[in-house]
């Protein structure tokens, strides 16, 4: 007869009791990052550069919120990897659509001769 695995070997679910100071520091960091986005919105840079900067800051904000507000950092390693890898893969796979968006704006790649290029 095979014994059932011992339930007691497994750790109980995590219960979080981070310090109030830590929460306030993270909150202030996210507030500052959000304020930085508003500052960037009024800066005189082109839309692509502005988008890149805002995306970078939004990812930093989201990372802080995920890790410390949602306590993902304190979860078990297997669960952490499951959430990050699975979500990351889905979100990255969606970016496939951009090529078609640029086709709408610029036309299919090499569909039209560029000015100054000699066709052979």
């Amino acid at each position: 007869m095979v014994d059932a695995p011992d339930v007691q070997r497994h750790e109980p679910a995590a219960r979080y009791m981070d310090s109030l100071g830590k929460y306030i520091v993270i909150y202030l960091c996210i507030l500052i990052l959000a304020a930085l986005q508003f500052v960037i919105a009024y800066s005189h840079v082109d839309t692509t550069a502005m988008f890149a900067r805002m995306l970078f800051i939004a990812l930093a904000e989201a990372g802080l919120a995920l890790m410390f507000f949602m306590h993902l950092w304190g979860e078990k390693r297997g669960f952490f990897l499951f959430v990050v890898i699975f979500t990351g893969f889905v979100l990255l796979a969606m970016q496939y659509g951009w090529t078609d968006s640029y086709r709408m704006e610029l036309g299919a790649p090499y569909s039209q001769p560029r000015t100054g290029v000699v066709q052979q």
């Binding site: 929460y23 306030i24 909150y27 986005q37 960037i40 949602m70 889905v90």
Partner: protein, 207 residues
Amino acid sequence: MSQADLVMEAHAAGLTTGIPPFSVPAKKMAIWLFIIADAATFAACLLAYGFLRNGSANWPRPFHNITNVALMTFILLTSSLTMLLGVRAANAGDKPGAFRWTMITAVLGVVFALLHIREWLALIGEGMTLFHNPWGTGLFGASFFSITGLHLLHVTAGVVALLAVGIRYKGGRYHADDLEVAGLYWHFVDLVWMFVVPFVYLLNLSH
């Protein structure tokens, strides 16, 4: 194979021990799976928005004043902090404190929703509808109202959930774990807003 043999095999495989996947409680696992799915939904909406913005020549930039959006952002971020304080108090066994912070979070959510509706009404007053606006392509209204509307729906659902969980927690039917699950959802709503603000509002600022 008899029923007893099946049960023994399941025991051997660790299937009937009641151990949840990753040792994460079932409710928490469920909300995380929902969050992953919802993250994909919002990402798809934002991607579609970016797709349209990139492919449209006359994309409007209708936002002159961002005071309202800045205030909304501040309120939502602060509500995440109050939610954290509520869960922290619940974990420490401070029931009145946990209830108070949860209700404060719900009130901040209501204020956010009211400011959001004010923002909408101002844009509608300027002539923006789902398929038409005075500044450029009509696609802007559809994408703007879809994304911000989906987020507003999440905030409204979150407020209802916080009220329901908070009241039941106070009454002793729910526990600190339930408050934590509601808190995870609320933080996710906050997290989504971190992407909606720059892409939908700030990149469409008229200089």
